[in-house]
């Protein structure tokens, strides 16, 4: 796919990256906040439950990225008390050149966070080698069937696991999983088992507060928030496998 020649892939992104949000936020992991979060439009996944669907699915949302200008805003935020600079999406991997431009414009002392769906290619992650202090990676689905049904993506498990193995060697890796209604045993449990076997000490953020927005109503089980029963079961699984949960 040659985006410079106007060809479009699944993400529909063109040659230029756009930013739909850039602000200091405190909703992420406690060890990372306050963070100056720069959100790039466009994504390679099509998660029905995407919390920023309108912008994440639209690579033309927001303003054209001026890496120098946004790096200056990030520096100002750091000077004002932000602890990290986070680059996210959508999925920032689809805008690698732009993301790397931002990194290049930031001071070496800035603590950088790469917030990703961990579904990038091996070629993409090689370009990210050594660039980010923290990889904040989603492990969303515990099987390929749910990934295909809810996010339209094939071969999810192998790709994500390969990327997580790589990231664990390159940076401080934090794995996130969003507890989704009706997806505890099919998704969270396999993820928990794999993490416990593969990375027993990895930091895991089990996210509650499923938001039934965007296109989640397409799926009957995603039309409401997570029940207390599902939440309790999810935390029980985490305890059973002695995962290192962080807030």
């Amino acid at each position: 796919m040659n985006r410079l020649a106007g060809e479009l892939g699944l993400c529909r992104a063109g040659a230029e990256a756009r930013v739909f949000s850039a602000q200091v936020e405190v909703s992420d992991e406690l060890e990372l906040i306050p963070t100056f979060a720069i959100a790039l439009s466009g994504c390679d996944l099509r998660c029905s439950f995407c919390i920023t669907g309108a912008s994440s699915w639209n690579p033309r949302a927001g303003e054209i990225l001026d890496a120098t200008a946004f790096a200056a805003k990030a520096e100002a935020a750091l000077a004002g008390g932000a602890r990290t600079v986070m680059i996210l999406g959508g999925e920032p991997t689809i805008h690698l050149p732009a993301a790397l431009e931002i990194v290049a414009a930031l001071p070496d002392t800035a603590k950088l966070v790469w917030k990703t769906n961990a579904h990038g290619s091996a070629q993409a992650r090689e370009l990210l080698d050594g660039m980010f202090d923290v990889w904040l990676a989603d492990y969303k689905f515990g099987n390929d069937s749910c990934a295909q049904r809810l996010a339209g993506i094939p071969d999810y498990t192998n790709t994500v696991q390969e990327n997580l193995r790589w990231a664990s060697q390159q940076s401080d890796l934090i794995v996130r999983h969003l507890v989704m209604p009706g997806h505890i045993d099919c998704c969270w449990k396999p993820v928990a088992v794999w993490l416990a076997n593969e990375f027993p000490q990895i930091k895991v953020n089990l996210r509650s507060g499923f938001w039934p927005g965007w296109k989640s109503a397409k799926h009957a089980e995603l039309r409401g928030t997570t029940s207390q029963l599902d939440s309790d079961r999810a935390w029980e699984i985490a305890r059973e496998h002695e995962l290192h949960l962080i807030e």
Binding site: F20, V24, E25, S27, I33, A54, G62, W211, E247
Partner: protein
């Protein structure tokens, strides 16, 4: 309140926090700014999850919106 605004290509980046208030009174927050975290904490001072996210490192304009006691060292976020 779950914002469903559609972003146009020309729309400028602006500060945004989205709130979803559930029928049982639970409030979900996304893209939580420091100022909104302070507001939510005022609504429910016993909520530890939000309390941990209160910071004093905000700009002067935002500081004006916060109660005076939020500026005290006791509300500084703990290092993790």
């Amino acid at each position: 309140m779950n914002s469903k605004k559609v972003m146009s290509a020309k729309q400028q980046v602006e500060l945004t926090t989205e709130l979803l208030i559930m029928p049982d009174g639970k409030v979900l927050a996304h893209n939580l700014t420091p100022a909104m975290a302070a507001v939510l904490s005022e609504l429910n001072p016993t909520d530890e999850a939000i309390k941990q996210r209160i910071i004093t490192h905000v700009g002067s304009e935002t500081k004006k919106l916060l109660p005076e006691h939020w500026h005290s060292p006791a509300h500084k976020i703990s290092d993790q």
